[in-house]
C-alpha cells in the first residue's frame, strides 16, 4: 500500500512529508506508545503508529529507519515535533482515529490489494 492511500483512508493531516515516500510499498507497521518497545522490534519498520505526540516518536522512527509516524487520537503535534520531522526527514501524519481503528483501516486496505 502506498502512503497516499493511507493518508486518504485515515483522513490524515500531513505535517511533514519525505519526498520519495510516494513510491514505497508500505508493509511493516508497528503500534506502540513506548519507544523502547519499538526499538525492540527486530525486523523492518515502515510506519510507527503511536499516541505519543513528542519528538521522541520522531527520533525513534529515525533510529529504526521508518519512513514515518502517524500520531493518533487527534493529538496536537508540537512545534518541536515539526522541527525534528523536517530535520530527520521523517514523514509525520496526524489522524483523529485511535490506534485500534488505524490498524483496522490498514488491514482493510491490504485486503483490497
Amino acid at each position: 500500500m502506498k502512503i497516499d492511500q493511507l493518508i486518504k483512508a485515515l483522513d490524515c493531516e500531513v505535517v511533514h512529508r519525505r519526498k520519495e515516500t510516494g513510491v514505497k510499498d508500505l508493509k511493516h507497521f508497528v503500534v506502540s506508545d513506548l519507544m523502547s518497545d519499538v526499538l525492540l522490534v527486530d525486523g523492518d519498520v515502515d510506519l510507527l503508529i503511536t499516541s505519543l505526540a513528542t519528538t521522541q516518536a520522531i527520533r525513534t522512527a529515525d533510529i529504526v529507519s521508518a519512513i514515518g509516524v502517524i500520531v493518533v487520537n487527534g493529538k496536537a503535534v508540537t512545534a518541536d515535533m515539526k522541527v525534528s520531522a523536517k530535520e530527520l526527514d521523517v514523514t509525520l501524519l496526524k489522524t483523529k482515529l485511535s490506534s485500534f481503528e488505524v490498524c483496522g483501516t490498514i488491514h482493510h486496505l491490504k485486503g483490497q490489494e
Partner: protein, 111 residues
Amino acid sequence: MTISEMTKLTELTLVQKEFEDGVISGGYTSDLLSDVIANAEANNILITIQAHINTVAVSKLVGIRAIVIANHREVPIDMVEAAQKEKIALFSSTLSQFSLSVLIGKHIHKQ
C-alpha cells in the same frame, strides 16, 4: 463477539479465566494508561504491553472487561490476582499490538 468467544482464538492464551462474560464493544490499543483512562470506552478490549497491576485498576475504572498483553510479555502474578478479583479476563499473546488489533478488529466486524 463475546469474551468467551475470544477464548477460542488460537492466537490468544487465556491467563486468567474467572471473568464476567459480555459482548465486546470495540478495541482500544494503547500503552499509556492515562490515554486509556481518557479515551477507551466501556466493554472495549484493551490491547497493550503494559503487563502491570495498574493496567487492571485502569481497566476497572473504564469498564474494560478483557485485557490482551501483547509481544509475549510476561504477566506478573499480582496482575493475574488483581484481574481475578475484578473478574476481568486476561489474555497473553505472542503477536504485536498491530497484529492483535487487526485480528480482534476482524472478529468484531464479522458480527
